[in-house]
Amino acid sequence: MTGLADAVRTALSAVVDPELDEPITDLGFVRSVAVDGSAVEVHLRLPTSFCAPNFAFLMASDAYEAVESVPGVERVVIELDDHHDSELINQGLAARAGYRGTFRHEAEDSLDELRATFVRKGHVAAMERAITVLIRVAPDTDVWALTLGDLRGPEAAALRRRRAALGLSLADDAPVLVEPDGTRPAPEAAEMFLRRARSVRISVDGNAHFCRGLLATRYPGAERDQRPLLPLVEEIAR
């Protein structure tokens, strides 16, 4: 491992799978990092050949930008392996063609809206996790009145990161139960609001289970590259 390779991996850890809301390094999606002088070649891998190409392209192109910005890197090759659109995506990346330039007539929109949707979902899921951890031990909690200062542990830290991404307040007295734009539900709507948030979190978690498991089945040993999920996601009995 050279210093540059370490720096590249660190840069890649900032690339997130938007759907799973986790860094691609924690998911085991980085297959290899090779450094030759100032040239870097990164290979990515996904759980199935049929993973959505829009998400695949998004991660690959984010990876390209992340690696390109590492000081000392002059040449970047990012390749997605074993995907039904590998050839198309890899050519598009090499030509810096962008999503629409890569998929041409098949791409209707840019990926910005898709990305924004999942940033919002990531917040909703993180909010519900932090609240559920708390009310499992203290069922009488007034959920609507909860503030950031009431929350503890890794779930609270994760929520703060999601809030920062959306530009929401990080003050200890900021309410926890909010929409992605910061508005609060009415107190009487709090239970239903949490309930909907829960279904979002369970959906996101389900995808995490699926993708991690399938990746390890497809690429034996990949599980060693995966960072364990948060306790509530992993659902270790307490």
């Binding site: 829009n54 239970e191 239903m192 829960r198 279904s199 659902e235």
Partner: protein, 349 residues
């Protein structure tokens, strides 16, 4: 039928296939990629004792299917939900003739649902009439993400799709099974969008829309739609096997579905031959929501009986033996169900 602890359960496997993914039927590399992907699903989510060798996985044939689903799989009835995938397989993935012949050879055991694709326009409408007459269709399986020449999929809200649904109404094809789950070669926006279900369920109230794979990986969107539309159902294919690998996660899926959709609109499916029904039925009957998950009420034997067979029997007019039926319950048609859970005492019920 399955019996455990003095209770007898009528079993309908609402999603099975008779596929042929052998090399000689693969049209291109995608045919191989597709079955390899299925095999990874199978290997990843089955108990070790239930994992098949790859060769066996490519093709089962009718005899093996009858053995797996009925002889050892407890099913009283099973429903074919074919995917054609003509772009990947020379003679299609689901074997229409073979499956239909099996249905005829085993009266009362099997229902053959066929598929249609609104992109075939008038020709397809004519074909649907013929298919309905020949197969006695009560249901169809739709795969909106299927590639068709230059087209990369369609929506249930497309004008042509509406023409097909109108014909379904006329022909008495009341059960529209829509694949909304992990998808093949999706592309634009969120390929797993379930919004079109909302529209068609509102516009065709006399048709039932069974969302296969309960919208995973977009369970939350599906639940929100299904709680408002009384003719939207959840098919458990793909969600079921989590009962083995991630039981606590399975508890949450089933808890969510019970809450939002309700026990009368959830259908058991093994997705044979992705997984086999035997172990899924056994595990599900034994399954209970962990006590520390106070956000969900416990599963009852009645709920399990409905999910395992009685709900599908209602949709397909199957003749359930008297002793296996349940008295008619008075359930709300829409909106969340009484969760009976500690942290939701104030929830709308």
């Amino acid at each position: 039928m399955y019996s455990k602890d003095g209770e007898n359960y009528y079993i309908v496997d609402a999603h099975i296939a008779l596929w042929d993914a052998r090399a000689e039927n693969q049209r291109n590399i995608h045919g191989k990629q597709f079955i390899d992907c299925f095999y990874d699903y199978h290997r990843n989510l089955s108990p070790e004792s239930e994992v098949w060798p790859y060769e066996e996985y490519l093709y089962q044939g009718g005899e093996r299917l009858m053995h797996d689903v009925f002889e050892i799989g407890y099913a009283d009835h099973a429903i074919f939900q074919p995917a054609l995938l003509g772009e990947f397989y020379n003679n299609g993935f689901g074997q229409t003739e073979e499956a239909f012949a099996l249905t005829q050879a085993n009266p009362g055991k099997l229902t053959y649902n066929h598929c249609f694709d609104p992109r075939f326009g008038e020709t397809g409408l004519k074909q649907l009439r013929e298919d309905a007459a020949r197969f006695g269709l009560k249901g169809v399986k739709l795969y909106t993400a299927e590639w068709q020449g230059e087209s990369r999929g369609y929506k249930l809200t497309d004008p042509w799709a509406y023409r097909y649904f109108e014909l379904c109404q006329e022909l008495g094809i009341t059960n529209i099974h829509v694949h909304k789950g992990p998808t093949i070669r999706p592309l634009d926006r969120d390929a797993f969008d379930v919004a079109d279900i909302d529209h068609v369920a509102t516009d065709f109230t006399d048709l039932n829309f069974i969302v296969e794979h309960c919208g995973l990986p977009r369970l939350e969107d599906f639940c929100w739609i299904a709680t408002q539309e009384p003719n939207v159902y959840a098919g458990l294919a793909v969600a079921m096997p989590f009962i083995h690998t991630r039981p606590r996660y399975f508890a949450q899926i089933i808890g969510e579905l019970n809450y939002w959709v309700g026990e009368d609109r959830i259908l058991f499916s093994s997705d044979y031959a992705l997984w086999t029904p035997r172990w899924l039925v056994e595990r599900y009957v034994d399954f209970q929501i962990p006590a520390d998950m106070t956000e969900y009420g416990p599963l009852t034997i009645e709920q399990k009986k409905k999910v395992l067979g009685l709900n599908a029997a209602r949709l397909y007019d199957l003749d359930v033996p008297k002793e296996l039926r349940l008295p008619e319950a008075d359930e709300t048609a829409t909106g969340p169900r009484e969760p009976g859970a500690a942290d939701l005492a104030g929830a709308a019920s």
